[in-house]
């Protein structure tokens, strides 16, 4: 998995800790995001998609349901990962 795949996986798993399997259901609804294996948390963002945008869309699903708190928890889940990204590569929802 590349860094954005890992970010997406981490976000979904963090949400799973809070809202349970619903996290995976919501993730399936995100375009260009493929759930390969729920148990291992393996996901794949389509190669031709805008990776940062897909992440933003994923975060938006949770924010729609649970508000700003959901955005905070998504960001906290991946703070270690996004520290390695160039600032311009960081998805807007996670800044």
């Amino acid at each position: 998995m590349d860094i954005f795949d890992t970010i997406a996986s981490r976000i979904i798993k963090e949400q799973e800790l809070i809202i349970g399997p619903l996290a995976w259901e919501e993730a399936r609804s995100v375009d260009s995001l493929q759930i390969i294996d729920m148990l291992s948390g393996e996901v794949k963002i389509a190669v031709d998609a805008n990776h940062a945008q897909v992440i933003d869309n994923l975060v938006a699903r949770y924010v729609d349901l649970f508000g700003r708190a959901a955005r905070e928890s998504c960001r906290e889940a991946v703070v270690a990962l996004i520290a390695d990204l160039q600032p311009t590569d960081v998805p807007r929802s996670l800044t």
Binding site: E14, L17, I18, I19, L22, E25, E26, D64, L65, F66, G67, A69, A70, E72, S73, E76, V79, A80, L81, A83, D84
Partner: protein
């Protein structure tokens, strides 16, 4: 089931409830993460008691859970002077930089004073933080590695937590992150503080276990050595016992051999002395002077040998416990007189003055074995005559109500002080005895002492070591308790020799 904001039944309330529940759930999830990490660490702590293995598993767990770049556990030795990096884990992107081995090597070879962050964390017992990578790793990692971990590892800050176990610092936990302390999540900060307690207790316990194991092993080895020593001692004691039994057996065999040999020699000796005596008496006709001289020598030699054989036989009887006393009442004064008369001729032949000093007017009645007392007195007189080249020998008798004391004094060669302790032992002669060219078996005094002891008497002697010796035998007048060493009142007999006074009465 999914929550939908378009739900017609009070959607705003539903949303508020959902968000409120979400927040609470998120908080609980955060706490769960802390607890989960602590639970993982606890599980690690009970899986092993090996310090190195525990340290390695702990750093790996922390690295994964908290997404760190470098995690290292550094422990103090028991003297608090040296440190060792027990385990270090780094993120995958730092694998090519040998971070772990460099940290291990450098910390081992540097004193605690070289790193102020570590030193201060231990001293102050509080965790310290630095965003200066050189401050944390500058004294430990080389410049190339330092640059690499900053660029490739994106290390932006380091935390040093003291590990305290029971009020005592045992080392530090070092965590280097790709983010600042303020960017750490709340549960991450909580986790770091809490897990240092778990790490400290776990490793201290492992260390104690290692020391206990070592002490136990030493004790076990010590006990094993002691058991082996004891077995050896028992074996030696057993060997000694067997050797002693064998020696006793051999001694018994020797005694029997001497007894048999002596008996075998007695008959021929009797024949030799008997026939040579007859020849000297002229029973086989007249003999010329030369033959007489030769036969005299034969006679004297056979007599001398008979005395030696008798000594051997007496000793074997003593050792076998076969000596019995033939007790009777006899006059000791008469015995002394007879002995004096017997040795008068011998003394004259040697040019010595034989004297008699009986300081008593009445009979001295003794209940004992007359022959053995006679033999004992004769032995002493014989010795005195043998070891006195010129001068005199005096036989004495003095009495109290309880004891009669025989004495044989001479002006001979004396007995050296070094021999006085052992003179009554078997085969022992005074060291100056050989220089006096006197023949002897060294058994006479041993036999005399045994005979005297059988009569509950005592024997001792006095000598200044150079000239003159006086032997004393003390005997109870009547059969009774052991007569203690009794020295009769002595008039200065050495300088005022006294002639026989018994004929005055």
């Amino acid at each position: 089931m999914s929550l939908n904001s378009s739900d017609s039944s009070n959607p705003r309330v539903s949303n508020d409830i959902a968000r409120s529940l979400y927040k609470q759930s998120a908080e609980i999830a955060g706490k769960n993460k802390t607890l989960s990490l602590l639970s993982d660490l606890y599980a690690i702590s009970i899986q092993s008691l090996n310090e190195d293995e525990l340290a390695r598993r702990l750093v790996e767990a922390i690295l994964d859970n908290l997404t760190c770049e470098i995690v290292s556990i550094v422990l103090l030795d028991t003297n608090y002077t040296a440190m060792t990096a027990r385990a270090t884990a780094n993120s995958k992107r730092l694998n090519s930089f040998n971070v772990e081995s460099q940290i291990a090597f450098c910390i081992k070879n540097k004193s605690i004073a070289d790193n102020t962050l570590i030193q201060n964390a231990i001293k102050t017992r509080t965790h310290l933080y630095s965003e200066n990578i050189s401050e944390m790793w500058g004294s430990i990692l080389n410049d190339a590695t330092l640059a690499a971990i900053q660029q490739k590892g994106h290390v932006r800050s380091s935390l040093v937590y003291p590990l305290i176990s029971g009020e005592r610092p045992i080392g530090v936990l070092i965590v280097s992150l790709n983010r600042t302390f303020t960017q750490l999540l709340e549960h991450e900060r909580e986790s770091l503080i809490n897990l240092t307690f778990v790490i400290a207790v776990t490793l201290d316990r492992a260390r104690l276990y290692a020391e206990l194991t070592k002490t136990n092993r030493q004790l076990t080895e010590s006990i094993k050595r002691e058991v082996e020593q004891r077995k050896k001692v028992e074996q030696l004691a057993d060997n000694l016992k067997h050797a002693n039994e064998r020696l006793t057996e051999l001694d018994k065999m020797k005694t029997e051999f001497v007894s048999i040999a002596s008996h075998q020699m007695r008959s021929p000796l009797t024949a030799i002395s008997g026939y040579s005596s007859l020849i000297l008496e002229g029973s086989y006709g007249a003999t010329n002077r030369e033959i007489k001289e030769v036969v005299s020598k034969i006679f004297r030699s056979s007599k001398s040998m008979s005395v030696a054989v008798d000594d051997f036989l007496n000793v074997t009887r003593i050792e076998q416990g076969r000596v019995q006393l033939d007790r009777e009442n006899f006059d000791l004064k008469e015995l002394v007189q007879n002995t004096y008369d017997e040795y008068m001729f011998v003394a004259e032949q040697r040019g010595l003055d034989l004297q008699l000093d009986i300081v008593t007017h009445t009979t001295v009645s003794i209940y004992g074995d007359r022959n053995k007392i006679k033999q004992s007195l004769s032995n002493l007189v014989d010795n005195a005559l043998k070891y006195t080249k010129e001068g005199w020998v005096r036989i004495g008798l003095a009495c109290t109500k309880e004891c009669a004391t025989l004495s044989v004094a001479d002006s001979g060669i004396g007995i050296p002080a070094s021999d006085q302790e052992r003179l009554f032992q078997k085969f022992t002669r005074a060291t100056n005895a050989n220089s006096a060219t006197v023949q002897g078996t060294g058994l006479g005094l041993y036999i005399v002492k045994h005979f005297v002891n059988m009569h509950q008497g005592s024997i001792w002697f006095e000598s200044n070591g150079e000239n003159g010796t006086t032997f004393f035998i003390s005997l109870p007048i009547k059969e009774g308790p052991v007569c203690q060493e009794h020295k009769p009142k002595v008039i200065d007999l050495m300088n005022h020799p006294i002639r026989d006074r018994s004929s005055d009465h």
